[in-house]
C-alpha cells in the first residue's frame, strides 16, 4: 500500500464526503467529479490504462456534465429550504454500515479464493478488444441494444412533450 494509494484514496473519500455534505447542489456535483477522477487515478495506479482513461472519458466527461445539466434544468440549483441533514440520520448510518459490511465481507472472501499471482498480467487494449469480440460479445450487444433503447426512449419522451405543447 504505497503513499500514492493513500493520497488517491484520501482524494476519493474527500470528494465523496464533500458531495454529501455541501449545501450547494452544483458544488456537490463538482465534488462527485473529483471522486470520479480519484477512482480513475486508482485504476491507473493499478496499471489498468484502458479502465482509467475510459473512466475519465465517460464519468468526468459525460456523466458529470449530465448530472450538472440535470441539476440546472430542474430546480435543484436553488439553496434548499430545509436542512441538508435528514432527521433519520441514525437509521441511514446503520443501513450504510450494513451495506459496507456485506460488501467488505464479499470482497475479502473472494480475495481468499483468488490464486496469488506474483506478476500482474499486463492487459493491453488489444486483449480487451479481443475479449469483447469473442468471449463477451453477447454482453456487448446487449449493452448496445440497451443504449439504443434508451436513446429512442429519450427521443420519444421529448417528442411527446412537443406534441403536448402544441
Amino acid at each position: 500500500m504505497s503513499v500514492v494509494f493513500y493520497i488517491l484514496a484520501a482524494m476519493t473519500i474527500a470528494g465523496g464526503l464533500a458531495a454529501m455534505l455541501l449545501k450547494n447542489t452544483v458544488h456537490c456535483a463538482l465534488a462527485v467529479t473529483v471522486a470520479f477522477s480519484g477512482l480513475a487515478f486508482l485504476f491507473l495506479e493499478l496499471d489498468a490504462q484502458f479502465a482509467g482513461f475510459a473512466q475519465i472519458l465517460v464519468y468526468v466527461g459525460a456523466v458529470a456534465i449530465l448530472v450538472v445539466f440535470a441539476i440546472l434544468l430542474t430546480r435543484g440549483s436553488e439553496t434548499p429550504k430545509d436542512s441538508v441533514y435528514s432527521k433519520n440520520w441514525l437509521a441511514g448510518l446503520v443501513i450504510a454500515a450494513g451495506v459496507f459490511a456485506v460488501l467488505g465481507w464479499a470482497v475479502l472472501q473472494s480475495a481468499a479464493v483468488l490464486p496469488h499471482e506474483t506478476a500482474t498480467p499486463t492487459v493491453t487494449v488489444l486483449d480487451i478488444g479481443n475479449a469483447l469480440m469473442t468471449r463477451y460479445v453477447l454482453p456487448l450487444e446487449i449493452v448496445a441494444l440497451l443504449l439504443t433503447v434508451a436513446m429512442i426512449g429519450a427521443v420519444i419522451v421529448a417528442l411527446h412533450e412537443k406534441t403536448e405543447a402544441q
Binding site: Q49, F50, F53, I56, L57, V60, I65, V125, L126
Partner: protein, 391 residues
C-alpha cells in the same frame, strides 16, 4: 548529420540530464520536457494570435495590427502586458472558488493533451499504449471547465453560453471519436507513435498518409469539422459569439483569467491539430520521399501551423452557424458519415491491395455524401416559422 539535426533535442536532453545521478535522471528529464512544452506552446500561441489578426485583416481587405512593432510583430507583447495589468473583476455574487478554478482546469486539461503527441522521431513525452484514449479523456475534461466558468459567473448570458458550448462540444465529441476510430482500426493500435510509424512509408515519392486514402480523406474532413466545433471556433463559435452573448461563458472574466481562457482555446487548437496531423497527415513524416532529410520536428510544427492557417482561413470566410443548425449538422450529417466511414475503412482493409478498393470505397463515400447532402441538408423550411413554446 541529418540524423543529428533530427535528434538534436533528444541528444540535448540526454546531455543535460547526464550531469545528474541515475535515480534523478528520469524525473528531471520529464520535468525538462514538460517545461519546454509549457514554454513553447504559449510562444506559438502568441505567434498564432498575431497571425490570426493579420491574416483575418488581409482577408477582409485591411491591414492587421501594424503599429506596435514593424508589421505589428510586437503586438502579442502589448496584448500580454494589457491582460496582466487589467483589473481582475470578480462579480460580487459569483461563486469565488469555482470562478477561480475554471480557467485553471481548462489550461491544465489542455496542456495534459500534449503528453502523448509525437512531435518528432523519438520525441514523445509519454509513449502510452492507450495514448489516443488519454488524449480524448483530457479533452473531455475541458467541457467541464467551460461549464464551471459559465455557471459560477451567476450571469444568465454566461450560463446560456456555457450550456450551448457544452451541448455543442458533447455533440461533436462523437464524430471526433468515430473518425479517429477508423484510423485506430486500420493501424491496429491506440498508441500514437505506432499510428505515425504506420504512415511513415513511401510508394515511389508519395507517402502513405491516411489522408490520401478515400476513408482517410473523408475521415479527415469530418475530423476537421469536429475539431472546429470542439474548440468553439468559427463557424461554430456561437457560445462565444460576440454579437449574441457578449462573450458567452467568459463574459465575467477580465485580465489574466480571460487571457488564460484565450490561451486555453488556442493551445487546444494546437493540440487538436497536432492530433489531427498525427492521425491523418502522417505526424512527423515528410510529404515526399526526397524530403526526408528535413528534421521530423520541422514537419510536425509546419503541419500544425498549416492547420492553424486553415482554421483562420475558415474563420474569415464562413458565417456563424445557429445553434440548431449546428446540432442538426452534427447528428444528422456528420455522425452518419463517420459511421459509414468506419464501414468503408473496414472494407478497404479486407479488400486487399489493388485498384478495386480505391474505386469501391471512393464510390460508396461519394454517393453517400451526395445522397445525404441532398436529402438531409435541404432547407425546405422556408415559410412562416413555427415556434415550439411561444404559441
Amino acid at each position: 548529420m541529418i540524423e543529428k539535426m533530427d535528434q538534436i533535442f533528444v541528444s540535448l536532453l540526454h546531455w543535460l540530464i547526464s550531469f545528474l545521478p541515475a535515480f534523478l535522471q528520469p524525473f528531471v528529464g520529464v520535468v525538462i520536457c514538460v517545461a519546454v512544452i509549457v514554454c513553447l506552446y504559449p510562444a506559438l500561441f502568441a505567434l498564432a494570435v498575431l497571425l490570426e489578426r493579420k491574416g483575418l485583416g488581409r482577408m477582409q481587405n485591411r491591414y492587421g495590427p501594424n503599429r506596435v512593432g514593424p508589421f505589428g510583430i510586437l503586438q502579442p507583447i502589448a496584448d500580454g502586458v494589457k491582460s496582466l495589468t487589467k483589473e481582475d473583476i470578480v462579480p460580487l455574487s459569483a461563486d469565488a472558488v469555482v470562478h477561480f478554478l475554471a480557467p485553471v482546469v481548462l489550461v491544465v486539461a489542455v496542456f495534459m493533451g500534449f503528453a502523448v503527441l509525437p512531435m518528432g522521431r523519438n520525441m514523445v513525452l509519454v509513449d502510452m499504449d492507450a495514448g489516443l484514449l488519454f488524449y480524448f479523456a483530457m479533452s473531455a475534461t475541458t467541457e467541464l471547465s467551460v461549464f464551471m466558468a459559465g455557471w459560477s459567473s451567476r450571469n444568465k448570458y454566461s450560463l446560456l453560453g456555457a450550456m450551448r458550448a457544452v451541448a455543442q462540444m458533447i455533440s461533436y465529441e462523437v464524430p471526433l471519436l468515430m473518425s479517429s476510430v477508423a484510423v485506430v482500426m486500420i493501424t491496429g493500435s491506440l498508441s500514437l507513435t505506432k499510428i505515425v510509424a504506420a504512415q511513415d512509408s513511401y510508394t515511389g515519392i508519395f507517402p502513405h498518409w491516411y489522408i490520401f486514402t478515400p476513408w482517410g480523406f473523408a475521415g479527415f474532413v469530418m475530423y476537421a469539422i469536429a475539431t472546429t466545433a470542439e474548440t468553439n471556433r468559427s463557424p461554430f463559435d456561437l457560445p462565444e459569439g460576440e454579437s449574441e452573448l457578449v462573450a458567452g461563458y467568459h463574459t465575467e472574466y477580465s485580465g489574466f483569467k480571460f487571457a488564460l481562457f484565450f490561451l486555453g482555446e488556442y493551445v487546444a487548437m494546437f493540440s487538436i491539430s497536432g492530433l489531427g496531423t498525427t492521425l491523418f497527415l502522417g505526424g512527423w513524416s515528410a510529404p515526399f520521399s526526397f524530403l526526408t532529410w528535413v528534421p521530423s520536428w520541422i514537419w510536425f510544427f509546419s503541419k500544425i501551423m498549416l492547420s492553424i492557417c486553415v482554421f483562420i482561413w475558415v474563420r474569415g470566410t464562413l458565417p456563424r452557424l445557429r445553434q440548431d443548425q449546428l446540432m442538426n449538422f452534427a447528428w444528422k450529417f456528420v455522425l452518419p458519415m463517420t459511421l459509414l466511414n468506419l464501414f468503408v475503412a473496414a472494407l478497404w482493409h479486407f479488400l486487399g491491395e489493388g485498384w478495386q478498393r480505391w474505386v469501391f470505397c471512393s464510390a460508396i463515400l461519394v454517393v453517400a455524401y451526395v445522397a445525404m447532402g441532398l436529402v438531409e441538408m435541404r432547407s425546405d423550411h422556408f415559410g412562416p416559422r413555427k415556434y415550439r413554446y411561444a404559441e
